[in-house]
Symmetry: none
DNA sequence: TTTTTTTGTCATAAAACTGTAACAAAATCC
DNA sequence: GGATTTTGTTACAGTTTTATGACAAAAAAA
């Protein structure tokens, strides 16, 4: 998993220990964790920082998790942020209330970090395909395999299917050198009869596409004379 | 809940009573229920009828729910169908295993019909926005599933049923690429014999309809050469 | 039934993509 | 430097994929 911008999770709980425990576990999993200690704070922070997921304790001072959830769901701007409700109660009425109110999941205390984590991942997988099917990134280049979108410095780049595949291949292992034969095998398929020079042309096309809208062009595809191509700058190749 | 065709739910459990109980409750909620009594049957049926959601008992003859889940997740054709695992066990290891394997939720027996229902709805809300929300929105396009009304820049647009369904499908997951096969499966139904090019014509009709009354036309349906179509503009995305 | 709308298919035009050759430029070797 | 090898660049033709309009069949409405 190689996304540089972390997934932001807001967690609201009035119990410091609990908060710290969750923060610790989520941070370990490379999430960015923002915490709030009561309902109002959670609400404010949500609207400020747009977390990718919100975890709300049911019972909190000032505003309960349920109320925060209701508020968030009523505004279009926050309607789609996934919410998990934590609760000490186990009665059925509560469970279903949580879900009916628009929460995405409901976890009963006590729960193990592993379980919470599993649920978080399950939800992210559904609600944010773009996060789950995450992208590959190298310097200012991002490519989204699921949507076949390529962005360079935040701008969309148009590439033909072949070029997209070649770039994907290089992105999978930055700095690794791919020989023309390897590229042919992986992109065109094994055993096809294509001139090796053809790849040069495709590389050229990729480079050209990346130049559009980027006057300060940094050649991101390194030519390795006698060997092939690799993702990386021409100046600072190895590390 | 409003949809043109009923939501299909496949439920697999080897215990007839349990099966019947769930079937009864789901049917009451206007779902179309298909049942299987063991893992293998569940797997076969899944691939045959493309349910909108699958409920699997953990312990089943021939093939466990977990194994069925794994199989379904390994095939691209069934990868996106939401899955709920039912289990009598409550140990943590199991819970997380269920979710990690790619299930969307995990419900421990005994559960109340209300709870199962709430979870089903929570999941469908994510995976099929058109079923849960009053309308879906993308840029200046709004579509109201319940009334089959489409508005672009506030103006009503006329679409035939097929075109409406195609557009709905694309709207459920903006930016995601749908292959012609996927569109055929979802809109016409699986296993129907229609020329793939027919979809091009329908797409053309949708685009045309959206052009009416909009001189500053922004092509909202992206053609992904070699792959299919996706909702999104060609130039500016939102990733 | 008649009329209108919707739908599927075809033929053809248009567009996009690909592979190659030819030559220029750069790097390497002697 | 000069020869040789490798890569860069461009133009172009061939191929594949989409777009589009026309038309008839099918379905729905009147």
């Amino acid at each position: 998993m190689n996304s540089l911008s972390k997934i932001k999770i807001l967690i609201a709980d009035d119990e410091p220990n609990q908060l710290e425990l969750i923060r610790f576990n989520l941070t370990k999993e490379n999430f960015e964790v923002i915490s709030a200690s009561d309902g109002e704070e959670a609400l404010c922070l949500s609207e400020e920082i747009f977390p990718d997921l919100i975890i709300l304790d049911w019972m909190m001072p000032k505003m309960s998790g349920i109320d925060v959830c209701r508020k968030l769901r009523s505004k279009s701007i926050s309607r789609d942020i996934p919410i998990i409700i934590l609760s000490a109660r186990g009665e059925e009425g509560d469970r279903t209330l949580g879900l009916e109110i628009g929460a995405d999941d409901y976890v009963t205390k006590p729960f193990s970090p592993m379980e919470l984590l599993a649920r978080i991942k399950a939800i992210l997988r559904r609600s944010r395909p773009s996060l789950a099917n995450d992208y590959m990134e190298f310097e200012n280049l991002r490519i989204y395999p699921s949507t076949q979108i390529v962005k360079y410095n935040g701008e969309k780049i148009d590439l033909g299917p072949k070029e997209f595949k070649i770039l994907s291949l290089l992105m999978e292992r930055p700095e690794q050198i791919f020989s023309r034969t390897q590229i042919l095998d992986k992109v065109w398929g094994h055993g096809i009869d294509i001139e090796q020079r053809t790849i040069d042309v495709h590389i050229r096309r990729i480079r050209k596409a990346l130049m559009i809208n980027s006057n300060e062009f940094k050649n991101i595809i390194r030519t390795v004379r006698g060997s092939g191509y690799a993702l990386g700058t021409n100046k600072f190749g190895f590390h």
